[in-house]
Symmetry: C3
């Protein structure tokens, strides 16, 4: 397929969707709308080319299994927002950057090399959990977990009532 297939209208509608999803979960798109739409257009092109919306700033392999960590939002967005106030592409930025309280710097590639990626899952920090400060409640409908004295009045995810929660830990 030809990238020219992507119309301005498709980009606009994708932009509205991604912006609204970002904001409802406490994230922010880059306020430079022209720049942001260019990135989103590249994601739509990747969507057509590969069948999944790979990160517009990295070279995808074309093998979905291998590129899972690169589908936007990528696995590295949140650590990069935490450390640098923006994702690798600059598509998502922190409120500190947004308000001008912090300057945007260049962001190093956080993605491990292919050899490293395959062994990452094996190594996990050793830690024995022997105490827990509050009970963990589980929504029996959607599986939402939260730690508080009592379950919430309403599940924030699926909106069922408190009586649908069970003690999980």
């Amino acid at each position: 397929m030809n990238p020219a297939d992507i119309t301005e209208k498709e980009v606009d509608s994708f932009y509205q969707k991604i912006k609204s999803e970002a904001e409802s979960a406490g994230y922010h798109l880059n306020p430079d709308e022209a720049f942001t739409k260019e990135l989103l257009e590249s994601i739509l092109i990747n969507q057509e080319r590969y069948g999944y919306g790979a990160c517009p700033c990295r070279l995808a392999s074309g093998d979905k299994e291998e590129d899972l960590d690169l589908i936007c939002p990528c696995d590295y967005r949140d650590p990069d927002l935490d450390e640098f106030g923006a994702c690798y592409c600059g598509l998502y930025i922190s409120s500190e950057i947004l308000s001008g309280g912090k300057k945007l710097t260049s962001i190093p590639e956080r993605r491990p090399g292919p050899d490293q990626r395959s062994i990452d899952d094996e190594s996990s920090h050793e830690l024995t959990i022997t105490n827990i400060s509050l009970p963990v409640w589980r929504c029996r409908v959607c599986g939402y977990l939260c730690a508080r004295e009592e379950p919430p009045e309403t599940c924030p995810i699926c909106k069922v009532g408190k009586e649908r929660f069970e003690r999980f830990l």
Copy 2:
């Protein structure tokens, strides 16, 4: 009370509410609107009859305590969506079914018999947690839990800032 009490307007307004809640949490209602509204009307009738919106495709006992797992969305919706792409009633369907990528089949009753239900809670898989790959953060306000290098900038549930999170595990 008489089921005739349920007006078309009430069904419409319930439909809008349930549809919007479903979509904001990543679920989908059956796109056959007439079928879906019939199911929702039955839930409203159960709401009047029993005082809670029991599943429209199962026989409720009338004892809320006993029927908790059957209040829509029922405890079996998500496992059925995972396995069959639809809940037992066909009220909720997966995006794979929605897009035509998978065909809807008949869905067996997953709810355990009454004897089984009462002992289910006792038996849980034995598993010792001795390692954990990332810290778990807890929002001190709403109890939201997430596992990541650092807490998120904003709690996705109650919107408080990162500084309101504490290390939980």
Copy 3:
């Protein structure tokens, strides 16, 4: 700065924002709009005075670190909603109070004294986690955790697909 700086328009817009965030997460503002807006105006005044929106019904110290638990929504809102059906200020109320099924009573101050607050974090209940009834899944993008047979079709927080989840516990 002078509290007179807060315009009616700012209070209205803050009210709309807080109300919509509350409702989307299953919380409710006090339906007495005049009362609620007065509380919200006080939070905006605190925001100007201290640089953070401290609880309108308590005396803030002015030291953000010390007042973190008092920034609205405060750390005590949810336990007070659980026990009394309202937060200390009456800004947030439960659906039971909202529907008239329960009467509002006076709510004692739950915040520990300053001495108590500093040692609270040290003491946690001893509990060895040795079994877990369902696997816990983690969204690799945002860190969302849920306990269910399989990951959800879509992450309810960041909207990525099921294939972006990993087994966490």
